[in-house]
Symmetry: C2
Subunit: 183 residues, 2 copies
C-alpha cells in the first residue's frame, strides 16, 4: 500500500498491464493469473477485473500495447530510406528486449485456445506486408526476408538453436544486404 492508499487512480489499466509484463518476465508466461496480476499491481482481483472484464481482455490489452510499441519502432526508421517497413521489422528484433518474449509466449499460449486473439496481430502484419511488398518489384525476394525475420523471432522466442551469436550477427548483416539489393 503506497501513498495513494485512499486515492483513487483514474486509470489503473497501465499499472495492470505493467504488472502482467513483470510477472511474465519474472515467473514465466504460464504464471499470468488474475490473482497474481492483482497482487503485483497492488490491486484486488475485482479491481483488475473491473478494468479488464475478462482474462482474454487482459491478454488482448497486452497484445495491443505490444503492437503500439511495434508501430512506434517502425516510425523511428528514417523517412527517406527505401523499404522502410522491412528495415523496421529487422531492426526491431535486433533491439528486442527479452521482457517481451515471455509476454509473447503468454499470448501465444492463450491463442491456442482462442485463435481469434491474434486477429489484431494479423491485421497489423497484413498492413505491414502490403507496404513491404509494394515497396519493391521483387516480391518473392522481399517475402523471403520477411520470413527470415519471422524465423528469427520465433527462434529467439522458443530458444531454438541459432548457430551461435557469431553466425547470428552475420545473418543479420546478410539480411540488411538483401534488403539493400531489393528493387
Amino acid at each position: 500500500m503506497t501513498i495513494q492508499s485512499k486515492m483513487q487512480a483514474k486509470n489503473a489499466s497501465p499499472r495492470i498491464l505493467g504488472a502482467a509484463r513483470a510477472i511474465a518476465h519474472r515467473e514465466g508466461a504460464g504464471k499470468i493469473t488474475i490473482d497474481a496480476v492483482a497482487r503485483e499491481a497492488d490491486l484486488s482481483k475485482g479491481g483488475v477485473l473491473y478494468n479488464f472484464p475478462t482474462k482474454r481482455a487482459l491478454l488482448a490489452g497486452l497484445l495491443d500495447e505490444m503492437l503500439a510499441e511495434h508501430r512506434e519502432r517502425l516510425a523511428s526508421v528514417p523517412e527517406d530510406r527505401r523499404s522502410r517497413t522491412l528495415r523496421g521489422h529487422l531492426e526491431a528484433i535486433v533491439q528486442a528486449r527479452a521482457v517481451d518474449d515471455d509476454l509473447s509466449m503468454a499470448i501465444l499460449a492463450a491463442a491456442a485456445s482462442d485463435p481469434r486473439l491474434l486477429d489484431p496481430l494479423r491485421a497489423e502484419l497484413t498492413g505491414d506486408l502490403e507496404r513491404i511488398l509494394s515497396d519493391t518489384q521483387d516480391t518473392p525476394g522481399a517475402m523471403v526476408v520477411v520470413l527470415a525475420i519471422q524465423g528469427l523471432r520465433f527462434q529467439k522466442l522458443l530458444g531454438l538453436p541459432d548457430g551461435g551469436a557469431d553466425l547470428r550477427g552475420r545473418v543479420i548483416e546478410q539480411l540488411r544486404a538483401m534488403i539493400n539489393e531489393l528493387e
Copy 2:
C-alpha cells in the same frame, strides 16, 4: 466401442496419441485434456494415465511422434543431392498436413508453462542445423534459408498473412533456387 470392446490391446499408447491428435484437429489445441483424450481413445482416464503418467508426458509423447515423422520425411530425400537436410526441411512444410498445426499449437501452449518440453525439438534441430551448415561454405546464406523455412512454419501455424497462395508458391521456388546456389 469398436470390435475390440473387450480385447486388451498390448499397447494403447498409439491409440491415445491418435486420439489426442484427433481432438486437437477437431476441437482445437486448447481442448486436449486427459478426460477428453480418454473418451476419444475409448479408455478411462486412469487408463490414459497408466500409459502416460502425466499430461506433460503425453504432450512429450506427441512431440516425439512428430519428430519421428520429421526424421522419416528427411530420410525420404534422395541420398545424392547436396543440402539434403535443408531440402528435406523445405519439402516438409510444402507437404505438411493441417492436422499437425493444432497439435503444434498445443505443444507450444504447454511450452509456455514448461519451456523444457521443447528440449527434444531443440536437440533435433541442433543436429539438423549442424548438418545443414556443414553442407555448405555459405553459412549465412544457408541460415537465411533455414530461418525463412521456420518463418513459413509459424506463418502457417498462426495463420499470419502470407501474401496469397500465389506468392507463397513463388517464394518456395525462390527458396529452392537459393538452396541450389549454395556452395
